[in-house]
């Protein structure tokens, strides 16, 4: 699955129909579309329908890049019950720490271009693991690099982040971050790139399938009110009595 794709509904350049076809050819089952914002949440249903026609499952995702904690709080309050996946780009330390502490945030994203703006350290990892926030690697950032120097620096930063994430058991999600269909990569290709960043092939495949799938399932349960609280799920109702399973 690829949880991070942009179409021409936002900053991407390819139409949804091309993305759907390419994703289907590449063998994806779930595609996370990150085109949504506060103004176009109503379009989610229409986009989902397009994906369903090809037998794919569209996951609604929003990328937040707040400048301060207040802005992030406001966005989370408004969007959490409407969107399946919320990712936060941590542009400063206070936002990074708050995003890792807040259980409403699913995915943390960091800058790969500069050490100064990369806030994924040991403290961040410890906070993230407590709140089950995942660290995301976008493969397209590496592919897009125009110079060797840029790519070398980026690979060094990501490798260091991956080392910390693996040490503290922070879930890692590998996605493409594609802005057009030619930046989409098939799952095994993304896994092979992840092996260059210090993740074993087995773990890389898990980061592409199991980790994001668990996130989607739990968030969908939360959105439809099945997940009562952590570890307790409502399976169904028999008469007036609720059948509750403890996991």
């Amino acid at each position: 699955m690829d949880l991070h794709v942009f179409s021409n509904l936002s900053i991407g350049s390819s139409p949804i129909s091309e993305i759907v076809k390419m994703a289907s050819d590449m063998g994806f089952k779930y595609i996370g579309i990150a085109d949504f914002n506060k103004n176009n949440i109503n379009e989610i249903k229409d986009v989902k329908k397009l994906f369903n026609d090809y037998g794919l499952d569209m996951v609604s995702r929003i990328d937040l890049s707040p400048n301060n904690v207040e802005e992030l709080k406001r966005d989370l309050r408004f969007l959490r019950n409407k969107i399946e996946i919320i990712a936060v780009f941590c542009s400063n330390l206070s936002v990074a720490r708050f995003a890792a502490r807040d259980s409403r945030v699913d995915i943390l994203m960091f800058s790969y271009t500069d050490w100064k703006n990369n806030f994924f350290d040991v403290s961040e990892a410890k906070l993230a693991v407590e709140n089950e926030a995942a660290y995301e690697i976008n493969i397209a950032n590496l592919i897009r690099c125009s110079s060797f120097n840029e790519r070398i620096k980026m690979m060094r930063i990501i490798s260091e982040n991956v080392r910390i994430a693996l040490k503290y058991n922070v879930p890692i999600i590998i996605s493409s971050g594609a802005k057009n269909v030619f930046e989409l990569r098939e799952p095994r290709a993304m896994a092979s790139i992840a092996t260059l960043l210090g993740i074993s092939e087995f773990d890389a495949l898990r980061c592409l399938s199991d980790v994001p799938l668990n996130l989607i399932i739990s968030n969908r349960d939360k959105l439809c009110g099945k997940l009562l609280y952590k570890g307790v799920k409502l399976l169904g109702k028999v008469g007036d009595q609720s059948e509750v399973k403890e996991e």
């Binding site: 390419m22 050819d25 590449m26 493969i139 590496l142 592919i143 897009r144 060797f148 057009n180 269909v181 030619f182 930046e183 989409l184 990569r185 098939e186 095994r188 290709a189 993304m190 092979s192 790139i193 092996t195 260059l196 092939e201």
Partner: protein
């Protein structure tokens, strides 16, 4: 006498996604893959991968390439890093990996017909 196992190869059947009106030649594919391997793994890495483009049919955009079986992941990542050829956006997709060239050719022929 100790039997030394010979180096084994893997044959990758691949397809190239690009815009419909774009034609990519054998030479362009070869150069782009080789440059990608060289930039990612250097000369020593390239020698270990022992890559060779065996077949490429420009009209079907299908081909077979060979690499060392221990360096298959490196070969896949080198293919994944190719974003354009001569200014045209492309994506490589691995269809199948086989252990013999005969099998790879058989699959390629069946794909070419369909």
């Amino acid at each position: 006498m100790i039997k030394v196992k010979l180096r084994r190869n893997r044959y990758i059947i691949f397809t190239v996604f690009c815009r419909d009106n774009v034609n990519i030649s054998f030479r362009e594919i070869l150069n782009s893959i080789f440059n990608s391997i060289l930039s990612l793994f250097g000369e020593v890495g390239a020698s270990k991968i022992s890559f060779s483009l065996m077949r490429y049919y420009p009209e079907k955009r299908l081909g077979i390439l060979r690499c060392d079986h221990l360096n298959l992941i490196k070969m896949r990542s080198a293919l994944a890093f190719i974003k354009d050829i001569e200014g045209n956006n492309v994506t490589f997709r691995v269809i199948k990996v086989t252990g013999t060239f005969r099998k790879a050719e058989k699959i390629l022929n069946s794909l070419s017909i369909t």
